[in-house]
Amino acid sequence: MIDQIVLLILAIVLFGVGLYALLGKRNVIKILMGIEIMTIAANLVFIALGTEFETTGDGTFIWFTEFALVFPLISLAVGAAVMALGLALVINNYRHAKSVDTDEMATLKR
């Protein structure tokens, strides 16, 4: 049986990796990958905090609350939409600026 704290620590480390990509990288594709990793980490926290363990004579059972069931699904859908929009913007900007570097994207007028 997985302990909740294990899942929470995994989520925190993944969130840190995503945050590092967001702050430290200039390639937009890598920034989007960081956002995806952060979304997955947030989903893991939802699942970890909305889970209840019950030990009976027959064994240990896991119960998921409505919190753990509904929020990750919504988060997955919104995250996928955000990523699709972000990648579409990357392609559109690449056609104009010929680069995926955020520093070069900062110039709006060309």
Binding site: V6, I29, I40, W63, L87, V90, I91
Partner: protein, 168 residues
């Protein structure tokens, strides 16, 4: 081996794949690392018995978004490598270290974690969907992954042909 050892291995794999995806110079290898990370998360969720979420996560992130990433990387391949910026990296690492250590301290020092919400009839709803449509969802997942890989391969072949035509 006990379950906790397997969980530690899969967790380590997920974290390493995430770091490799961020740090890799080649974007296509970064996308492959992202797929590995998604599979590791899928295994962890299956171990946690969050079966429906595990499959949906694999279909949406491991399949759909990976296909989008492959397409975008193929379309934007002629670009110069990102140069190493020491100041930016140091500041980012410092911020991440502070936030992550704070969060781990909060979680570790809390002891018993309270659970939000109550047991609900909703719990039975996704479970019943899962039990009745298990084959459907597995087939859809396999089909989606296969389609994603096919789209990626087609794009790469198209790019290669385009390059050869331009050269000749």
């Amino acid at each position: 081996m006990s379950l906790i050892v397997w969980i530690s291995i899969v967790m380590g794999l997920a974290i390493l794949a995430a770091i490799f995806a961020i740090e890799s110079k080649n974007l296509m290898i970064a996308v492959i690392s992202l797929i590995v990370m998604n599979f590791a998360i899928w295994i962890i969720l299956l171990m946690f018995e969050a079966t429906l979420l595990a499959w949906i996560q694999l279909i949406v992130y491991g399949g759909g978004l990976t296909a989008l990433f492959v397409v975008v990387v193929s379309l934007t391949e002629n670009q110069k490598d990102e140069t190493f910026d020491l100041t930016r990296t140091t500041i980012a690492l410092a911020v991440v270290a502070i936030i992550v250590s704070l969060l781990i301290w909060v979680v570790a020092s809390h002891g018993d974690i309270t659970i939000v919400g109550d047991r609900d009839p909703l719990t039975k709803f996704p479970a019943s969907i899962w039990e009745n449509r298990v084959t459907d969802i597995i087939l859809q997942a396999v089909l989606f992954l296969a389609t994603s890989i096919a789209i990626g391969v087609l794009f790469l072949q198209h790019k290669k042909k385009h390059k050869e035509v331009t050269k000749s």
